[in-house]
Symmetry: C2
Subunit: 248 residues, 2 copies
């Protein structure tokens, strides 16, 4: 990982509850050349003595931590996100940190690594914001890692990782992708493909599919163009229909 | 690393001061399939709430931890030891954990990984008990890792490491090596090669040399044999001398 540029990888903690953990995480981030810490609805106090005691000389990372209300807000401007998952939760393939994490270091991108809360990890609902999933291998005797230890291992792997070559196309940002999903859902409801009571589970399947595809900005534009065309065509037909009805 | 056998690697903490750290270390050891924790003169209470809170479901590792008075006592029966070092301290080569740690997993050996205290690491005096030295790479902006995080990263690397083939010869145990050093020193003083005031620094050089050589049990026997022969020869000559003196 480059030491000359500020790292592009943000560490996102979802509902962390332990101030000691958050302090330790700030420290190991700085040890491993990272500086962007984002907390989604933390239930602990970042300015507490516990947090500051553990952060030691990484108080700057702790003080610059950003607090937000939702995962989409934590991911604004991000092009790629990887979530840490507990084996049983997810049906997408789980990858070794060493295999997946270099993907976050591709030059020119903003990226995120997501961790769930100490007692429950990331829910299926939360995992869906990521495109890839890592699992830290552990002994069968005791699988549950302390949050700060899990972050330490991932930050260490990021620091060791080779920087991949830039791909030719610019991937779309995750917030742009999220807006596209909302657009798609509204169009599919509009044309009667989706019913309100089944929309959520059907949309989940589309999210899976498109997340896997790592869409570029250009490809997302194409898809948004199709949606706008469908809207135009159906509204047009609806208004034609309405005017026809009024004529008869 | 094998999950079927109890691990042969003991984690040795020299003068740990933080109960939270020791608890976290017990937890990550169990996560990574390790169970032997040895503390040399700890200055914190292992049975405190802090330690137990962090150990979570690894209370068994914490409760089975062995407390000893010295590093040699912590290494009794060990064949190999690696110490974690701070870059500036040591003139032996520092290795990446991924490179050196598999050496501790060679079948049939008892081995140890040593960590110094939170505020000062391992001294030169303490480092000399190890044969190899690892350094966890960190950012130049902040080099000092939290003790529990350093142990977590090394335990994770041990858990990932391929198990090396058994070497043909059995390495000598570190306590046998230590006894050999004491024997050598006493013989060298006896024959006037060492002077009491320079013995320590000269012996340091021999330790360096023989630690580097990774002596086998058979080789150590050979060397001890030479020492015994020198003792026999010099005592014999001394007693001959004495009897000659008494005859004149």
């Amino acid at each position: 990982m480059s030491e000359t540029l500020p790292s592009q990888v943000r560490i996102v903690l979802v509902e962390p509850a332990g101030a000691l953990n958050v302090g330790s995480i700030a420290r190991v981030m700085k040890n491993m050349g990272l500086s962007q810490l984002v907390l989604v609805n933390p239930t602990c106090d970042l300015q507490s003595d516990d947090a500051r005691k553990m952060a030691m000389r990484a108080i700057d990372v702790l003080e610059a931590a950003q607090i937000v209300d939702s995962i989409p807000e934590a991911l604004v401007g991000c092009h790629r996100a990887i979530a840490t998952a507990v084996r049983s939760r997810i049906d997408s393939p789980l990858e070794h940190p060493r295999e997946a994490l270099p993907w976050l270091l591709e030059p020119g991108l903003n990226t995120a690594l997501l961790f769930g809360s100490e007692d429950r990890g990331l829910s299926n609902e939360e995992l869906k914001y990521a495109q890839r999933f890592v699992y830290i291998p552990t002994s069968d005797r005791y699988r549950s890692l302390n949050l700060a230890q899990a972050v330490a291992i991932c930050c260490y792997e990021l620091f060791q990782a080779p920087i991949p070559d830039a791909t030719l196309s610019i991937p779309c940002s995750l917030d742009a992708l999220d807006r596209a999903y909302q657009h798609l859902e509204s169009v599919l409801l509009d044309i009667g493909y989706l019913q309100p009571h089944t929309a959520a589970s059907r949309m989940e399947k589309f999210r899976h599919l498109f997340n896997r595809a790592n869409l570029s900005e250009a490809e997302l534009s194409l898809l948004r163009g199709i949606l706008r065309q469908v809207e135009w065509a159906t509204h047009d037909r609806t208004s034609e229909q309405t005017s026809k009805d009024s004529r008869t």
